[in-house]
């Protein structure tokens, strides 16, 4: 777990959301963490995938949303949705690292009095158009 977290810290350095990925907001024992790096992501023109999912109360969800919002400041493009005061969706294209594009994907879904939050961090050469067309095509093929 320490190795996983250290890798995460390196990948998302400079991001406010790094605190979430590192388990500073929600303890690692209370979330599902997925990390894929290398050949497995080549299909999507990505090199790195990091996903965390957890369940929190509204106060914590607002804290996470605030961190995501902080990372939109220097983003190249941002799509967000709000539910009341809480940001419930964000697709953020972060400032690239050289030729490597970076994305932050966030979603919070209500489940009774709590929120189920998903946060992804992606790196690779795929453009937003690539990703949209890639998965739109898959969806079309599935129908």
């Amino acid at each position: 777990m320490l190795l996983l977290l250290s890798g995460t810290a390196f990948a998302q350095r400079g991001l406010s959301c790094n605190a979430v990925f590192r388990g500073k907001i929600v303890p690692p024992q209370r979330m599902v963490t997925t990390e894929v790096r290398g050949g497995g992501m080549a299909t999507y023109k990505l090199d790195y995938y990091k996903g965390v999912t957890f369940q929190v109360d509204t106060a914590t969800a607002l804290k996470v949303a605030a961190l995501v919002a902080a990372d939109t400041g220097a983003a190249r493009s941002v799509q967000t949705e709000m539910t009341g005061e809480l940001m419930t969706y964000a697709l953020v294209e972060l400032k690239p690292d050289g030729k490597i594009k970076r994305y932050l994907c966030y979603q919070a879904r209500p489940s009774g009095p709590i929120w189920k939050v998903t946060l992804l961090y992606l790196e690779g050469i795929a453009t937003l158009e690539d990703l949209n067309s890639m998965f739109a095509k898959q969806e079309t093929n599935d129908k």
């Binding site: 050949g39 992501m41 080549a42």
Partner: protein, 140 residues
């Protein structure tokens, strides 16, 4: 009639060149397993013939090595290996595919990649992230 009598007669016919190939093989087998001195001369002859046949067979199966062809094959093998290493998809040393669900490690790459694809598809197609479904699945 004992074996000795039978094979002694057969040996006499052998010396007179009246035996069939099958009888000669049978006689040779007997001569090989008996230590009767009466068959020493026969063993000597049969042994010689046996060695002679073996030599002929070995000569027939001898593999001739052509130095130039061997060298060419070796060079071709080295080039093929080099090309394979050069153009094969490089698997990086830091490749990683892992999931921690509430502190428990999972490393089923197929399952992880399936959920990764679903998550990406869901996000970029505007659907519910599969990570949420995964969370619900692992939720205790």
């Amino acid at each position: 009639m004992t074996d000795k009598e039978k094979y002694t007669r057969l040996m006499q016919r052998y010396w007179e060149a009246e035996t069939t190939p099958a009888e000669e093989r049978e006689l040779a087998r007997y001569a090989a397993r008996t230590d009767d001195p009466a068959f020493d001369q026969l063993r000597g002859v049969l042994g010689y013939l046996s060695v002679g046949r073996t030599t002929r067979v070995r000569k027939g199966r001898r593999v001739r090595i052509y130095p130039i062809a061997a060298a060419a094959a070796g060079i071709a093998a080295v080039i093929a290996l080099a090309l394979t290493l050069r153009f094969a998809p490089a698997r990086q040393a830091d490749d990683l595919c892992v999931r921690y669900a509430y502190g428990v490690k999972y490393s089923d790459s197929d399952a992880i990649m399936t959920s990764v694809e679903s998550s990406l598809a869901d996000f970029f197609a505007g659907e519910t992230p599969a990570e949420v479904q995964l969370f619900e699945m692992f939720q205790r």
